[in-house]
Symmetry: D2
Subunit: 478 residues, 4 copies
């Protein structure tokens, strides 16, 4: 799904003795790569000495063997992957943020978006503070550092700091001797932890990073909860819990998270399959085959097929060698669509096809895909979307920017269907979308991007955008 | 399926005027990348001037923008992708082979393996010839060059040369003014062509490269057929057809080719799904869900599920960002399995699972995958293979080397099942495998790797191996 | 001269309209590369929008075409090169420092070393400030930002800030609309500016950067002077001048600066040649030829030869293709000396040779070079050093760290001579070294590294070192 | 001196047991880098197994640690550096040429240019041979391979092959068990060998490669001589000596070779200094200082100064960090001259300057340099060239292509002087140039580029150029 992007994934590791925490962090971040492909970073803590590396690029590109060797052994580590739309951002706001303050140093990796960023920053600036980035991680570090001056411990400083942070935030932080994981009270973004066979504790945005490290028992960190890891073990602090109504981002289930992850106890794959099942009930159609747009429509298609009792088929082959390759296609422009995705003619030829995808942003990709199927011989193409139409921008860490770029704000569903060239078009209903991740109560979800009901005050993003556009850090790949 | 590899993919382009043939070749080779990932090359012909670039690596790595610019416009091009097991080979035997001879120059890209390579080479060496490579492409070039001395045209030389070549060969060749495509009379490897919207003719190992370039009408080149493209158009020569019995490699349908390709008129996906259906009949089992090993077992799983009337499910998530990343995992060794492939617990937990894959070579990967499913909660795992067991080496361009490395030569099926940890194990029968690509007659297939019935004389490979091990060209990535 | 390193070079450009300031900055920094080879950076100001790129490596490596294109057009730019001993530092403390504060943003590039860094940092930290680096540039930015809150303009803030900075500092700073150049009141490091043909003003550490840009008229910025460039022109502020006695680093003339530079009105080459002449008078010897160690001993050798009326000769060939190549020489260890520097046997064979160099730090290189000459047939080798022996660490921006690493603190001159294997050894006297850059008054120089007379309070460097070793930013080349 | 280029440097190593021959080859090629910067290659022989790596780029770029590791231990190695003008050649004709033939395999690295290349190639092509390159090394390999069929040993085949080779050739060749070094009977290019401390024999184009490896005793290989190294020791064969009159290239002394090399017993530095001395006698002038254009004019300037009893000075500083950096200077075009070479104003201001260089090809560089000196304040600039004017192309391995590009063929000396802007201009005479390398007899030199007296038949180069332009191998850096 081009056009919408999750901002980040975070990871933290704690062990009592020195060990290969950089390698574990590397492996875990690889499993979180789908949450952000623009830049990544790892900070390793070897008994108080911090080593850090960050750069633009995929984890497997940035963290080569020499870098992992240079990061060395450690007892704590935090890591981060950052999202990948705006190519001009390059190296700006790379995380983890690593800073020194009066009482030590800390490295912090955050996933989310503060709604009171501007107010906090102006307050600090009026006291003479200067800023190296336009990112939340730096401002959160400032608040924690300020509270640390009058707190007996870093964890007390973090708890106090939470009172000043509004909107969406979910971070891991390491001090010279502790690893702290915080999920903001609204709980927009997921966070969980577990214990590896070697005794390491691992915190991550999604359970898939933990299972990759062989961890089977996953403990969800609840909205508002702080978990601290130190030499004495694991410490849960729930004093900030319940200060806000939970507002879990439903789009984590629909699109962001990996299908094998289990978030707040609910399988992402199962939620998507359920979305497909609801869709089959809400938008039934006579058809011969159900196929999904790889990879994000596959789970929904399987659910649709099962509920509709229509055969499921493999409608497309994805070229697994292409990666982020760009080619200026010139006269071969049309080919550049096919190079990444190719229809399986034997599956769709002379068939009435139900095509399942997870969203329509601008509609251009859907148009190309429907066209491809028709050219491959599909008799009819019925497009089914496992979410309601996007109607509103997101202020909680998702790159759904302005109404202008959302097709559903400008066109009726019939106009969209015509533009895309589908024979019919059906979106999942608002009611259904809140049920796909049952047994999580329907009221615990944020679905503001669909219905405009924001669970917090809305920031003046224009002003913040102005900030982030004044300073550009040119990246490696420029 | 680790352990077995196709040797090559070939591509050729002809157009009357100068145009972006390098770009088209690049796109087409990207679509053939699954046939070889070790090295690749493109040779462009601009009215008789040849420009060539080859290197170790994926097409999208080797052929960057600067290289494509340097290759320039042309009216003919040939390209090649080469297989990727033996990491020590590096830059050895890269293709296309580009040479100059008395009557001009030629570039040749071949897919196959001659059974009389040694005899041909010894004959040439005894006349004072020297060799830069140990590849078939150079020896085929020698034979053609020799015949060209006494032939009125390059195409006549090629036809005469075919009489001296034995075993498996399928090549595209460009001279200063012509593009020639040859499929050896046994037809082990596929070859087809079509005409693009801009009038270019494109020849490729598989139809997926043609559809990528927007070509809808695919013409199969038949075993023994030569097709020549020049300014007058397309010329089919069938004088060498019928000299051998067709021996189409059945493993192209089972594993090598891409599911969206159509070879000799038969859809690869359909053949794989048919294999799954036969398997369901030959090895039925009570189960709750059918899943496939990504990506090669998916098609067969869909077929099995349909025939067995069991639900099809998405059992694994593949990490699409990992590519060929290598990490020396040390203490995190177990994680390195999970990093590329992760089971979807919600799908398999407490289920009786049918797991479909396309082959078992050494058995180690199957063992890991079955273990992963059990750890994710699968109650039973019934492994079904969409091919018979490998029992014999292949001499026709496939990397099935020696009996020693084939598990089925050393263990009974029950021993294999135990080693892998599956609750039951079933292979497709020899009878069924010859039927999966109907309506191609059963007699037209080579299945020597399963039944040992070689359609040609068998070469003394030991001797040839000695050749190729005397000279190592160190590659970029060493 | 291995073992001693200048910390930095700075550059600033101001023009009224948008133009190729990044390119000019690139060219100027290339001319300053000898002042620092570890990392470099350029910040471009396009009417208030800042774009910046920094990385470990040479200017010509880091600033490729794509980076310069991405930096774009601008009306102001600042650039920096950083020194290159401590390979573990990697990307730490890269400059220019680019930050945002209440009243805008600024980019600052500094050459020097504050003696009150620790006191300033502790003061800021006690107010809750956090630090991203351990460099002077960040702390100077903090002081300026603090003063800016209560100053009507950036230049007033800079002037006030100068009152809080002690030790060595020389910086260029750009705000959205101004370029400001400051040379600290002690004037340890040089700074000058000039006007290019296209009307741009260029500020640089050394005149060689200005002449590279075609500027012929060089204006030295005096110790304590601030020069500000804005749309109204050039503004000299001398209000901070004379607050300290000038303490120009004499080692700039002996080693750091490029021979074609003219610093405070005195040619570096002429000063070095004068050093050679004084040396000829202080340490005469009967000899057949005078040669210099390339490149830093050549100027002194020419002066010695002229004063002693002995022939000057080209004693060594330097391999110009080697660069910073490293090879683990193993059994060929001895060759790795020769690979960079090779004696010209025809010049030294059977000759009594005077060998001129600019310093002896650990003595190991001198030993190798004298040995090379003897092996090439030199009858006698008389080593002459164009400076007194190093006896004391430098706290003003030079990498002369501790007494332990200085051979002259541990050995008598006769012991050094024996170790090196020279037939005689002579150092320039303390009296003479203060005269080589006449007509600058002898009293205006700092020669603390030779005589221990520090012109300022000495900081507790142990403490600062502790800071910079707690946080390591792993570089590209690790 | 831009515009004229030596084609190659060769190196060979023989030792009885396995050892670090790749490393030694690397170090030796680094010392020969001035003879060719376009591409390089090393082939290592480990008891008959050949490993080879070649690529476009400097030795220190192409031969990194991983490559040297992959080349491994060996008992024999040959290496090559290739010249660097024609950027479009890229990877074409890289050496060593490594081939297999009936009786084994060989690797061959050559320096020179055959005058009967076309005749040889046509003969082979008429017998059906095909060619991968347009280089002499491949055709020499063909001749040797042909002779090997009827010779009892590789050395006998080489000796017989010499009868068929005309023009300039100087090569090292390794077979599975022997290293053979051949200097063609005319002896255009130099070749020598010596024995390292570890017992290895090393053959190289110039002695500087041997001294780099610690070898002090240098043995020149004479024109027409073949030296063979095997387990029994060193074997000199002189049977081909005296078949041609020696025609040593005088430009090796003037420009190509490194000053610290000793060729055929004569120091290159001494020959250049002698050229300067002759020049002082032939073209005296009243002046205050003599300076040389770095690096090639320095030796001559020292000679001129000494003979004319005028002070020698350091007129320029070369930027040692720039390397082969290219920048499209746009508005800063003029700066790009200064970036590599900068005049030392203190040396030339208000002075009458004698400027010594080794040649004028197109005159553009001389014009820029003279202009730089005048701008830096020189009162007069008297240009002196340590060679006669180029009037004729070279057919023996030097890149002096056509009369069109030689300024001396189109302008009188007075016209050249005016164009360059010098106050006077003097070239070394034809008589003197033959004396600079005394005691080598004057008659033993080829000076055809100056006087047009070619010692061999002249080939039809047009035809050969046609060959090499039909096939382009695109390089790494394109």
């Amino acid at each position: 799904m081009p056009g919408i992007h999750e901002e980040c994934g975070v990871l933290g590791i704690y062990r009592k003795d020195l060990g290969p925490v950089a390698e574990a962090c590397y492996l875990g971040l690889c499993a979180l790569q789908h949450r952000g492909q623009e830049s990544c970073g790892i900070a390793v803590n070897e008994d108080g000495l911090f080593r850090v590396h960050q750069d633009a690029g995929l984890v497997s590109e940035v963290m080569n063997h020499r870098v992992l060797d240079a990061l060395g052994k450690g007892n704590i580590a935090v890591g981060h992957v950052r999202y990948g739309t705006d190519q001009t951002r390059g190296r700006a706001d790379m995380q983890p943020t690593v800073i020194e303050h009066r009482k030590g140093r800390l490295a912090l990796a955050n996933n989310g978006s503060l709604t009171n960023y501007m107010a906090l920053r102006e307050d600090f600036e009026s006291k003479g503070f200067l800023f190296h980035t336009t990112g939340d991680a730096e401002i959160i570090s400032c608040v924690i550092t300020r509270e640390r001056l009058t707190s007996p411990s870093i964890e007390q400083a973090v708890l106090k700091a939470m009172n000043y942070l509004q909107g969406s935030f979910t971070f891991v932080l390491m001090s010279p001797r502790k690893l702290i994981a915080v999920r903001g009270p609204s709980g927009f973004r997921p966070l969980c932890y577990g214990r590896a066979d070697d005794g390491s504790f691992v915190v991550a945005s999604e359970s898939c990073a933990l299972t990759t490290l062989g961890i089977t028992e996953i403990i969800d960190i609840k909205p508002g909860e702080m978990v601290m890891f130190d030499e004495k073990g694991v410490h849960h602090n729930t004093s900030q819990m319940g200060k806000k109504k939970p507002s879990i981002c439903v789009f984590e289930y629909i699109y962001f998270a990996r299908p094998d992850s289990v978030l707040d106890g609910v399988s992402v794959h199962a939620a998507r399959a359920a979305a497909g099942e609801y869709l089959a009930k809400e938008h039934p159609v006579e058809a011969d085959i159900v196929i999904g747009v790889p990879d994000s429509g596959i789970d929904g298609a399987i659910g649709y097929a099962r509920a509709a009792r229509i055969n499921y088929g493999m409608g497309f082959v994805k070229n697994k060698y292409i990666g982020r390759t760009f080619i200026n296609p010139g006269e071969w422009r049309k080919a550049s669509v096919h190079i990444k995705l190719s229809p399986v003619s034997a599956v769709v030829k002379d068939k009435r096809v139900v095509l399942v995808d997870d969203s329509i942003v601008r509609g251009t990709t859907s148009e190309l895909i429907v066209g491809m199927l028709k050219k491959a011989g599909a008799k009819e193409v019925h497009l089914r979307i496992t979410a309601p139409p996007f109607m509103n921008p997101c202020y909680y860490g998702t790159d759904i920017k302005s109404k202008d770029s959302l097709i559903a704000c400008r066109m009726s569903q019939e106009e969209i269907r015509k533009k895309i060239g589908a024979d019919s078009l059906g979106f999942l209903s608002l009611e259904a979308v809140r049920k796909i991740a049952a047994p999580i109560p329907e009221s615990h979800f944020c679905s503001a991007c669909f219905d405009g009901k924001y669970p917090t005050d809305i920031p003046d993003t224009m002003e913040r955008d102005r900030y982030s556009k004044r300073l550009v850090r040119v990246g490696e790949n420029v």
